[in-house]
Amino acid sequence: MAFLLRRLLFYAVAAWVALTANFFIPRAMPGNAIQGIMAKFPGTLQPAAYKALQAMLGVGNAGSLWHQYVSYLNDVVHFNFGTDVTEYPAKVSTLVGETIPWTITLVGTATIIAFLLGTLLGILAGWRHGGWLDRVLPGLMFLQAVPYFFLALILIEVLAIRLNVFPIGSGYAQDVVPGWNWAFISSAVAHSLLPALTIVITSVAGWMLQMRNVMITTVGEDYVLAAQAKGLPDRRVIYTYAARNALLPQLQGFGLALGFVVSGAIIMEIVFSYPGIGLLLVNAVTSDDYPLMQAIFLVITFAVLLANVIVDILIVFMDPRARVSEVTA
């Protein structure tokens, strides 16, 4: 339990660093960001939007720095990111809130599938070192090096445009109304298959390589040899002896790599015009909508931190050492 408490404390520090960086970055920039945004909306900036800028960027006379900082933290705690500048009078939190379910469902499911599949393949490749799975490794390394959005372009070209197997773009068909009905859900699932496939194809190789390498080292341990010498069936030796121990570094790696995977996946959303947080981020970038960019940064960071907490809870369940006292991570 001590392990989990220390980890929670660490994530609290990380969250605070992210929040504080988010507060100081716009204020540390040479002023042009704010001037730019003021020049972009001459006269049309609504009072509420101006207040949002004050909260996020410190425009105008918003009081002392400390005062601004406290009111900023207060706003964030209440999920109040102010009113959006470009899509006035929409609230930033509403805009972000609309896109989150899409991204979490797609990226979350696909990442977990890729992780499980990659780990399983890694177990097999590590056990049968030098077998056929090892022969496809260079190919897998190639897939790992392909940017998500580039693979997305290729898959759309081949599977959606040429072969017409999957629908192109967007989160659901034009003619269905969002809601909890079969037509919408089936359409949404059909539209998410290709983006999900992209995530699985590009990230599965990374998990597999990592698991394979840990597995190879684990298989060389004496306790695995002892288990084999006892005459235990291969299945049992692989999964209960070798894989279970190899899984711990793999899980820790999962937590650390999550940021990269999520970053790649949200950029991929642009290619599919998927109505997730990535597309919103790009729209914010192209229209210089700083409050929106910052809110998205915070939301993604907190999602990744939360996922890391879950990973740590899993580690505590799997690793008896983490349950005793010492910090292993």
Binding site: V146, E157, F260, G264, T301
Partner: protein
Amino acid sequence: MTLVLPVSTEPAIPAEGAPEIGRWRRLPRNAKAGVIILGFFILTAIVGPYVTPYDPGYQNPSLSASLQAPSAAHLLGTTQSGQDVLSQLLVGVRLTLELAFIVGAVATALAVIGGVSAAALGGVWDEILSLVSNVFLVIPALPLLVVLLGELPQKGQTATILVLSVLGWPWGARVIRAQTLAIRNRDFIAAARETGEKTWRILAFEIVPNQVSLIAANFVNTVLYAIGASVALAFIGLTNLSSWSLGTMLYWAQSQDALQLGAWWWFVPPGLAVALIGTSLVLLNTGIDELSNPRLRDAHSASRIAGQRVRPTEPTPVLANMQPRRSPVAAFLHSFSRSSLLDGNGKR
């Protein structure tokens, strides 16, 4: 009784005359492939800008020049505004690689300084540096990069290099710190200290040179990260869009609907180049891993002992228990020899 013969058919350490060739031959196959592919792209980056068939930015006003499929005149076709894709690619590879190598060098230098000083200073400083690097590892890099670059007044090569370098050191610092702690207690460090060497001299001339392979691996990793991140940032428009890099090529292809127009020759070459450079770096890193951890070596690196393949992970074979492969005739002749007594325990 069993006989253990340290027989190896591996060539002995090559003579002074040809050390390079010997070293190249001993490199894992992955590393060789990585070096060859990366070398090709580095060569492209060096000579590329001088051999472009057209000006990469030249927009051909005639309508017939727009969106041409690859042909003899335009080996990789043209963009919507009639620009030559091959010329853009030749220039783009240089800009992307240049950025990645600079970021790799700067971030690796920061990682070495951070990691070594954390280990050397110890105590509170060590804890603080470790905490900072761990925090930066857990915060997703891309959204932070977007916020940083998005609010910078001047976007472009220099800004991207700066931001990527500042955020690219934590992982390396962590690894190098651990290694420094491991080396610090070795005898040769104690000896250096006894002879009165200054601390900074020990760090710079005893500890850092002993981590060269680790630093090299970290450099390769950072270059890989810089390529991925810079291409992604350019793809969403956070760079100087009038320069030609692999990322801006992809940006223009995406924003001008290359996909919908069926112009695959527009986005496939830059994307493939990114993927191939990335693959070469991954291969190179796997190669470095295999050099330092023999267990990871693939079956190809097995040595032949008495005609049988033995992987580095397997115990040194007991030759008396190994049946050298013989043709039936040879086996028949062998059965008359005295050494045949050693074959198979009692199976004769």
